[in-house]
């Protein structure tokens, strides 16, 4: 039986503001799941807190809406708990780069086989408009009346530096492209990171800004060349969309765990005996 997008829509009313970029990400996710024909019962969408944190509630699959900033370790626990599940982590720029920023490098080190979609709206939307780690310095808002004092972080650069094994960027203004990236991310063997530009039309509407700057990465670019990926990120004229970097040769965390466990043929009784004998 093949699934359609309706199969993934939950009956919970969506609470985002009209025009929010997150609608497009949600729709891209529905379409990606339908295209891959994944059974909802084998999918877990995990989130933290923020506007994007509500996303799992709008998906008819298993979901986990946890606490602020901890989406990656929670998703890791789920993936280790049941490696057969497709685990998709979603969260905002504040969730993933401010409060939860410490978990990102470690998810990368482990190469845990999950897909992490960062819905970056360059603002704290749910708390009504404070500057986030990716807000531009020029932004004047409630928590930055004279502009933002800190420079903005670039999630792609961080992911490349942390050696995330699949690094890509999508845009809620380009639904089909984003859908394809999500599919590529889920199919990627290892930790995949999809930085998604998802503007907040209420507090920091960047649609116009992005509209002028986004440019697809040329198809001839080699996604195994990290130096080139860094060049693309540093380009000041363009904001590139597409796959920056991909490495499928690395072992995933679940594979390493499987290998360790695999050294021991199952025989609980024997191991209990050995354990206790150690203390006799």
């Amino acid at each position: 039986m093949s699934h359609t997008t309706t199969d993934y829509k939950s009956d919970v009313k969506i609470t985002w503001c009209p025009g929010c970029g997150d609608f497009a990400v949600l729709n891209a996710l529905y379409q990606a799941l339908a295209t891959m024909d994944l059974d909802p019962k084998n999918v877990v969408v995990v989130s933290g807190i923020g506007c994007s944190g509500r996303l799992p509630i709008f998906v008819n699959s298993y979901g986990f809406h946890g606490v602020h900033g901890r989406v990656l370790p929670t998703a890791m626990g789920i993936k280790i708990g049941n490696p057969k599940l497709t685990v998709i982590a979603v969260g905002g720029d504040g969730d993933g780069l401010a409060i939860g920023g410490g978990h990102f490098p470690h998810a990368a080190r482990r190469n845990i086989d999950i897909t992490y979609i960062m819905l970056d709206n360059n603002i704290y939307g749910l708390t009504k408009g404070q500057a986030s780690p990716t807000t531009l310095q020029s932004f004047q808002g409630k928590s930055s009346p004279y502009g933002v004092s800190e420079e903005n972080l670039n999630p792609i650069a961080l992911a490349l530096a942390y050696d995330v094994s699949f690094v890509a960027r999508g845009y809620s203004g380009q639904l089909k492209h984003l859908t394809d990236l999500i599919i590529e991310g889920v199919n990627h063997k290892g930790f995949s990171f999809i930085h998604t530009l998802s503007p907040c039309v209420v507090f920091n509407d960047t649609y116009k800004y992005y509209g002028k700057k986004v440019t697809p990465i040329a198809p001839y670019e080699n996604t195994s060349n990290k130096m080139r990926a860094l060049e693309l990120w540093q380009d000041k004229q363009h904001i590139f969309l597409g796959s920056f970097y991909k490495d499928e040769t690395r072992q995933t965390f679940n594979e390493r765990i499987r290998d360790i466990i695999g050294q021991f043929p199952r025989d609980d009784e024997k191991y209990f005996r050995e354990l206790v004998n150690r203390y006799a």
Partner: protein, 582 residues
């Protein structure tokens, strides 16, 4: 009755600990009961180290106080521990180091010289000392030879031979140079059961695996790190996964995730780590996910006394969370209980789908005790209730039930799709902030804990059945209190003792029965403010007499006895009876 306390002191790195550990095993293999205690230098290399072994042909209840035998590896050990030798005890010292003075018998053994002559290096002094000690205690040389073989066998025959030579040199020295003091001897005897020697951390790790724990996430912290190491080594043998996470928040988040996905999961930490876990503790309570957290308490607050003992995380364990976040808190009384009660911890977390915090402390985590070979069938395993096929047709994850527990679907189950959430939610799990729903769901979560307070087997009684004076303790203080109660009984003061293994919720029936059997009640614990005393008083509305100690050390039985004597002499006015019948 044979009862002896051997204390060994020296410089960290001289093998004081391994000497003590081998002596402990020798006692256990000779069928004696053992209770050990150790201190650590704050530094990794160097600094003073101490290990003590108390052994008896009866159950040993506490670490003891005065040393019957003190073995010093250097003069500093004598300066530190000389005062703790029994006035008629035996001091073993190296005459090349210092000349001791005191009422005890000073027994000169040239440890360094023997070691240099036999082993041709300074290393091995601890094995020579073990030889000396085992001869003093009248142990069998054959048993010790076997132990050396077991311990060093992996390193090859040469190492075994060298160590046995060192052991024998110490042993023979005592044969040729007798001491005067009459000491009990500990020759190998027959016993109806086989003993094992474990630390609290080891016992609870074994117990957790037998309870079905198959995911462990943890971050190193004293005094819980060896649980992480144990799990890293042994859990994969049982098909389990272990992750050393980037912090305690990640550890507990991954534990919640793994349990949501269907695995029994645990983390272990100490106070500072539990403080970091508190937000997700609330998430587990809200989303009704079973998890087990071990807190091996140490001196606090803040970094506090990382290598010292205290029972001061109780408030955090019981109340730590924003919002009403019901949880269960267990506290094992000795090493053997660490093994069995951690199984209860998993069982209760599965049964009531909530966090269970398992409170041990530094003294329990790292002391070793003998106990009978474990019976893994003693505590039957309980698993979380899963939805039936009929329930999955119209599945409600948080359906209201009589005891508050709802069947929990696991990802992969057809029809069970739901989003676990830290938001207040409806029976289906959808966000719902209506006044009615918040009241109902809060009551549902609280109900589970109320039902849990009726669980049996989470207290133990000791001493007199009925007495004027009662004493209540929780967790690792059990042995010292029992010994103090025994001392009081010998002095003609009957005392009833109740030890709490579940400190939250309070086991209602057992406590009420106990309170109605005594006139005055002492509440003993290792912290400054009397944390348990406050919880206890506010729940049962009875005046109690608080006994606290805040020195970074466990109770001595003598301290318990002293408090009992003072209460018996009429020092305290607080009386239970009138208040209880109100």
């Amino acid at each position: 009755m044979k009862d002896i306390l051997v204390r060994i002191g020296g410089e960290g790195g001289e093998g004081v600990i391994s000497c003590g550990e081998m002596l402990t095993t020798a006692f256990a293999r000779s069928s004696y009961d053992v209770y050990t205690f150790r201190t650590y230098p704050a530094e990794i290399k160097g600094g003073p180290a101490m290990f003590q072994v108390r052994a008896s042909d009866e159950v040993v209840l506490s670490q003891g106080q005065a040393a019957d035998i003190l073995i010093t590896f250097n003069e500093e050990a004598f300066q530190l521990h000389g005062k703790s030798i029994h006035p008629e005890g035996l001091l073993v010292y190296d005459p090349a180091h210092y000349k001791p003075e005191g009422t005890f018998e000073a027994y000169a053994v040239p440890l360094d010289e023997i070691t240099l002559n036999v082993v041709k290096s300074k290393l091995g002094k601890n094995v020579v000392a073990l030889g000396v000690c085992s001869r003093i205690l009248g142990m069998s040389i054959d048993l010790l030879e076997q132990m050396v073989r077991d311990r060093f066998g992996k390193k090859g025959e040469l190492v075994v031979a060298k160590n046995f030579e060192a052991l024998k040199a110490g042993y023979d020295y005592v044969d040729k140079h007798p001491f005067k003091k009459k000491l009990p001897t500990f020759e190998s005897v027959q016993s109806p059961f086989k003993r094992i020697v474990m630390s609290g951390n080891e016992a609870l790790s074994v117990g957790a695996i037998s309870a079905g724990c198959r995911y462990y996430g943890g971050y190193p912290i004293t005094p819980a790190s060896d649980i992480l190491e144990f799990m890293e080594k042994d859990l994969p043998k049982f098909g389990g996964a272990v992750v050393q996470t980037e912090d305690e928040i990640s550890a507990i988040a991954s534990v919640v995730g793994a349990s949501y996905a269907g695995k029994k999961a645990m983390s272990a930490t100490s106070g500072p780590g539990l403080a970091l876990m508190v937000e997700i503790l609330g998430l587990a309570a809200m989303s009704e996910i079973p998890i087990v957290i071990v807190d091996a308490q140490r001196g606090g607050p803040s970094t506090g006394l990382p290598t010292k003992n205290e029972q001061s995380d109780l408030n955090l364990a019981v109340y730590g969370a924003h919002g009403d976040a019901p949880r269960i808190v267990l506290a094992p009384g000795d090493v053997e209980e660490c093994l069995y009660y951690i199984i209860h911890a998993f069982n209760l977390s599965e049964k009531y789908q909530c966090p269970v915090i398992f409170l041990t402390d530094q003294s329990l985590a790292h002391r070793t005790q003998t106990f009978p070979w474990p019976d893994f069938t003693k505590v039957p395993i309980v698993n979380r209730i899963l939805p039936t096929e009929a329930e999955l047709k119209e599945y409600k994850r948080f359906v209201m039930t009589e005891n508050g527990v709802s069947p929990m679907a696991l990802p992969g189950m057809e029809g069970g799709c739901y989003a676990a959430t830290g938001l207040e939610h409806s029976e289906r799990g959808s966000p719902n902030f209506t006044p009615k729903m918040h009241t109902q769901m809060s009551a549902k979560r609280a109900k589970k804990i109320q039902v849990c307070s009726m669980e049996k087997g989470f207290t133990s009684r000791y001493g007199a059945k009925k007495a004027k004076i009662g004493i209540i303790g929780w967790g690792s203080t059990q042995g010292a209190i029992r010994e103090g109660v025994d001392m009081a009984a010998k002095a003609g003061i009957p005392v009833a003792h109740l030890q709490m293994k579940m400190v939250y919720p309070l086991p209602e029936a057992d406590v009420r029965e106990f309170l109605s059997s005594v006139e005055q009640v002492i509440v003993a614990e290792i912290n400054y403010s009397g944390q348990f005393n406050h919880i206890f008083r506010s729940h049962f509305l009875v005046p109690t007499i608080s006994l606290t100690k805040c020195e970074g050390l466990p109770f001595y039985a003598e301290e318990i006895f002293a408090k009992i004597k003072s209460v018996a002499a009429g020092s305290e006015k607080a009386v239970v009876g009138a208040a209880l019948s109100r």
